[in-house]
Amino acid sequence: MLHDIALLSPMIILLFGALFTLVVDPFLPTATPRRFWGPFGALISGAAVLATAALWVSGNHEMQTPAFAAHLSASRLSLFFTALTAVCALLTHLSSPAFMDEQDHGFGEFYALLHFAAFGMAVMVAAESLITLFIGLEIMSLSVYVLAAFKRTSLASVEAGLKYFIMGSVASAMLLYGMAFLYGIAGGTTYVEIQRALVVPKPGLDLWLGLAVVLTMGAFLFKVAAVPFHMWAPDAYEGAPTPVAGFMSAGVKAAAFGALLKVLYAALAGGAIDSLHLSMPKMLATFAVVTMTVGNIAALRQTNAKRILGFSAIAHAGYLLLGCVAWVPDGGLGDHYHVAGAAVPFYLVGYALASLAVFAALSVVGKGGQELTGQAQLAGLGRRYPLAGAVLTLGLLSLAGVPPTLGFFGKLELLHEVLRAGDQYVPHAVLLVLNSVVAAYYYLRITVWVYMKPEGKVEREYIRDRSLTWSMSLAALAILCVGILPSRLMRMAAFAGGAVRPQVARAHLDHQLEVAGLKPPVVKAAATEAVLPR
C-alpha cells in the first residue's frame, strides 16, 4: 500500500494543490487579489514534475509494477506523460494570473480547476484499466470545459465551453459504449485482461469487437480533435481565455495521445484485432492524412491568430495520429523491438512547449478585457514588446518545424519513424511533408502581422507581468535548448515508447504457454524495462 502511494505521488501532489486552493480560497477576503495562486500552482506542478523525475530515476522492476490492483501504473510511458502534462500545467499557472485579472475573472477556482485538470491527465496516462482511464478522462474534461467557459460574462467564452461540453459528452458516451463491449468480450477491464482475450481471433465476436474498436477510436479522435470529430476545436480555442486555449492544445492533446498509445498497443492489439475486416491501422492512417490536410487548408483563410492555431492543432493531431499508427507495423506482435517508438512522445514535447509559448505570447494583447487576436491587435507587437514578439515567432517557427527548434527534430523523428514502419506509409509520409510546407504559410503570416504591418495611430497597451515573462522565457528557452541538444530527451522518449511493447510480448507469450498446456506465470499488468535502445 505504501509502495502504491509512492508510485502515485505526482498525482497526490496535484490533487493536494487543487484541494488546498479550493478550501483556502473562500476564507480569504474578497478584495484580496488572487494572482498569488498562480506561482503557488507553479510550485505544486513543479513538485509533481520532481516527484515524477524521482520515480523515473529510481525506476527498477519493482517500481514499474502496477499500483492499486493493476488499475494504475508508473511505467516509463506514464511517467513521461505525467511529467509533460505537469509542465504544461506549470507554464499555464505562470501565464494566466495577469491575463485572468485583466479579464476580471481572476478567481481562486480557476487555479483549482487547472490542478484538477492536470490531475485528471496524470490519472488518464497512468491508467491500466478502462475504469481508471474513464475517470481520469472525465476529471480532465469536466475541468477543461469549465476553464474554457470561465469568462462567464463573455458570450464567446460560454459558447466555446458549451460547444466543447456537448460534443465531449457525446464522445464520452461513445467511449463508454465501446468500453462496455470490450468488457463483455474480455470479461475484465484491465488492459492486460483485454489484451489476453484478444490474442487469438474470435470469429463469432467480430461484429462486436469491430463496434467496440470503432466507438473507442471515435472517442479518441474527438479528444485529439481529428477529422471527422474536429469542428469543436477552432471554436473552443477561439472563445476560451488565451492561456486556457494553450493548456487545451498542449496538455489535453498530450494526455489524450498518451492514453491512446496505451489503449492501442497495450489493450487493442493482437490476433483478434488483426483479423477484423476493417483494418484499424489503415483506417487510422487515412483519418490522419485527412485530418492534417483539412486542418492546414482551413487554417489558410482565417484572420484570427487563436483560430488559426485551433486549425493548426487539428493538423498536428493528424501528424501525431500518423506517428501512432506507424509505431508498430501491421500485425503488432513479436519481433518489433528495434522500433524505438520515440517519435510520438518526443514530438508531443516539442508541440506542447511551442503552443504554450505561442499562447502565452498572444495573451499579452488581452489588456483591459480585450479578447481579439487579429492582425489589428498584433500589429506592432514586435516593436513595442520585443520579448513577446520574439517568443511568439520562436514558437511559431517550432510549430512549423524550422531548425534549430525542437519542432524540427520532432518532425524529423516522426517522418523517420513513419518511413521505417513500412512501404505502405510512403504516400502518407509524402503528404505529411507537403502539409508541413502549406502550414509554414499561415505560421509566417502571423509573424508578418507582428513585425511588418502598420501599427495604426493608437498606442496599444500590453499586459506586462513578471510571471507571464517567466512563462514565456521558460518555454522559449526549452524550445531552443532542447532543440539544440535533443539527444537526451530523445533517449527518454525512447524509454517511454519502449515501455508499452514488453506488455504486448508478454500477453503473446502467456498465450503460447497456455496452448502448450503450461500454466502462465501470474503477472498482472507489467510494463517492465526490457530491450531498449541505448
Binding site: V170, A173, A180, G188
Partner: protein
C-alpha cells in the same frame, strides 16, 4: 426463476443508446440535449450490468457506479453553463450559438 437472456438486455441497451444519439443529433434545445446524453449514458450502464451478470464479474458494476457519479457531475457542469448562457442572451438553443464562426 428464469433469467432474461443476454441479447434482450443488449438490444434494449442499443435501442436506448440510438434514441439518445438521435436526440442529440436532431434536437435544438440544450436542455433536451443534456437529457439525451443522460439516456445514452444509462444505455451504457444497462449494457455494462448485462455483461457483468453474464461474465459473473463485478467490474462492470463498479464502472456503472462511476458512470452514475460522473453523469451527475456532468449534468451539474452542463446546467451551470446553460445558466451562464441564458443570463447573457435569454436563449438556450444551439442553432443560435453562432458567435464563433464556422
Amino acid at each position: 426463476m428464469t433469467s432474461i437472456p443476454l441479447h434482450h438486455l443488449l438490444t434494449l441497451g442499443a435501442l436506448l443508446f440510438c434514441i439518445g444519439f438521435i436526440g442529440v443529433l436532431t434536437r435544438r434545445n440544450i436542455l433536451i440535449l443534456l437529457m439525451s446524453i443522460e439516456v445514452m449514458l444509462n444505455a451504457v450502464n444497462l449494457t455494462l450490468l448485462a455483461f457483468a451478470r453474464y461474465n459473473g464479474a463485478t467490474e462492470g458494476q463498479v464502472l456503472a457506479f462511476f458512470i452514475i457519479a460522473v453523469a451527475a457531475a456532468e449534468a451539474a457542469v452542463g446546467l451551470a453553463m446553460v445558466l451562464a448562457m441564458f443570463r447573457l442572451k435569454q436563449d438556450v438553443h444551439i442553432d443560435t450559438m453562432n458567435l464563433l464562426k464556422r
